[in-house]
Symmetry: C2
Subunit: 357 residues, 2 copies
């Protein structure tokens, strides 16, 4: 009785296809080692390239495939110089979040080697927290509005719903429960100024009551940014609204090597997208030097997310292989000051994986 | 012909009065050394203490004095456990910003000694930029709204006006012009998602045309947080909306020693408040160990802001005295791992000041 996981692969733009290729390659190497588990890959063209060809960055067939998938692996979408007529970037990953109701942006932050962090005095594992970002509302709620550049003012709406706040807080506490660290969830808000944040905090406190085994605390968003650079070891799981999560997760990625090291998952009740936090990096696309680590770690998240002991074992093995390769600081791609190509570093991980599985 | 500067002193809550005392003391020491300049100090009680006594955190007489002043020195206001009935903190500094139309929050970030930064490889002067935060609108625009905790959703408004964006951008370019660094202004926005930010960017670009000698660039807010920890030396002057400025300025302060090291000025066309970026720190209030540096550097900003050669000379001297004292890393208060008391470190600055003036 084999369980087949339908994985939609959306390479996207720029370096997106290059890094997804590496993740898919490793998943294909893993598959024969797992009993009762098969992966079925289904590739689709999305993003700016697709928009330029067919006028739609996320064609209906690709979207339908996503909706019927067990998981979606996404490379990167968007190119800075190609925009919609309203001036905004083409970012179908936001449409996916909205249409598939992927409300929880889970962004683990882990330091593998002291050479990767700009901070003094932090070694492997000493920065290790997870940021859970609400991804369907909050300060992003006005994202469909169009600016009238000749008007005297411009308005957007901030919206926090009970449902939205509740489910993302619940997800954060569940993430904390599964970790073997401090078991603490920090709500990052600005309840001293905004009523939406007073509301968010109120709901967070309600949800916290259902998790008496987990410490709940409130931290103002401004203070949290400072704590992140002065005592990142104090964080375990953080939960916050969309925009704050966007800012803090980039900052956090900066502490462990940059966007090339930061995986993410956008998780809903019926679908999930696993993608590196980085963008399409068109300046280095096609050169074979993109850092595949964030994408590979996103594949780890996917394996752990499938509710299956075998894939969890595979996820742990792939994570261990990445950690082993990165424990040698000369194993790095150029974005991190190293010399390895995209395939070379993946080759190293592939070899380490054989031992780990 | 003596020019008398009327300086309103608002000690406020917690450590506020302790640190303002030190700044006032140094200003009084400076005054006899300046020709044709006098300082007149006018102290008022404001903040939570005042709210508890008289029901108003910013009494009318204090506000009137502020309005008729040349500058306002503010210590700190607010106490975490005392709130208005609507759950929000008592933060009359926000009322001051609004009522006096103090639209530009100028926050210089300067590293005095490598011991103060959590970042590897940065020494004195190697982190040196200014953040200009719009302080009257933006994501804070909804700050008077009250949350209905039983509703299904909570809304706030984001507002960016042409006037608001224009004047703060102009201020940023003017700040850049006065600095002897890169002469670059970076707009920090989220124009890839929010129409208010597309609008802000449009106005920034218009203003930039009036400053052809200064480089103008756009950086997304999430990326800017990452750059701040990975290459802070690339920034010269940053300008951004209220909430982004709030977050990024705390983060930036974290890079140079924390809130105890970060001065600020809230500047309007008719008034200006100079205050440390830190809060009232009630946990250490009354112990004589508060770090007065941020407050003293705020006084430096005031002296430089007065349109007067003598006060500018005094500002430069006071800045040099602070730099000289901080060049010895044992000259630190406990918040920075040191042993000096509030008055001891001010004594050291006072002595250095004698040479510098
Ligand atoms: C590309 C952009 C629209 C996106 C976002 O802001 O959510 C990105 O920054 C992210 O964090 O996934
Ligand atoms: C105390 C608080 C309301 C204030 C703000 O958010 O503006 C503070 O964080 C600041 O940066 O001055």
């Amino acid at each position: 009785m084999t369980k087949t996981y339908k994985i939609v692969v959306l390479g996207g733009d720029g370096i997106g296809p290059e890094v997804t290729d590496q993740a898919v390659r490793l998943l294909k190497e893993i598959q024969p080692q797992l009993s009762g588990v098969a992966f079925e890959f289904d590739e689709h063209s999305v993003g700016v390239g697709e928009y330029q060809k067919n006028g739609d960055a996320l064609p209906e067939t690709a979207f339908e495939a996503c909706r019927n998938s067990d998981a979606i692996l996404l490379g990167a979408m968007g190119l800075p110089n190609v925009r919609y007529p309203n001036g905004k970037e083409i970012a179908p990953q936001l449409d996916l979040r909205e249409k598939l109701d992927l409300y929880g942006g889970v962004r683990p932050i882990e330091l593998f080697h002291e050479a990767d962090t700009p901070l003094k005095n932090y070694g492997p594992g000493e920065i290790d927290f997870v940021l859970v970002r609400e991804s369907t509302e909050g300060i992003f709620a006005g994202r469909d509005a169009v600016a009238d550049l000749d008007a005297d003012e411009s308005l957007n709406i901030i919206r926090i719903t009970r449902k939205g706040a509740e489910r993302v807080c619940r997800m954060a506490f569940e993430v904390a429960r599964k970790r073997d660290k401090a078991k603490k969830v920090s709500l990052i808000d600005k309840a001293n100024v905004l009523s939406t944040m007073v509301y968010f905090r109120h709901i967070f406190d309600e949800v916290a009551k259902d998790f008496p085994d987990i410490t709940a605390e409130h931290v103002y968003v401004d203070a949290s940014a400072l704590f992140m650079v002065r005592r990142p070891h104090d964080f375990d799981v953080m939960v916050t609204e969309n925009m704050f999560g966007d800012i803090l997760s980039d900052l956090a990625a900066g502490l462990v090597g940059g966007m090339g090291m930061a995986p993410s998952a956008d998780i809903g009740d019926k679908a999930a997208v696993f993608q590196p936090s980085h963008g399409s990096a068109p300046d280095i696309a096609g050169q074979g030097i993109a850092n595949p680590i964030a994408m590979i770690l996103s594949a780890v998240m996917m394996l752990q997310w499938f509710d299956n002991d075998e894939t969890r074992r595979a996820g742990a093995a792939l994570h261990a292989a990445v950690a082993r390769v990165l424990s040698d600081p000369s194993n790095r791609t150029p974005d991190m000051g190293g010399k390895l190509s995209t395939t070379q570093i993946t080759d190293a991980i592939s070899i380490a994986l054989k031992d780990a599985l």
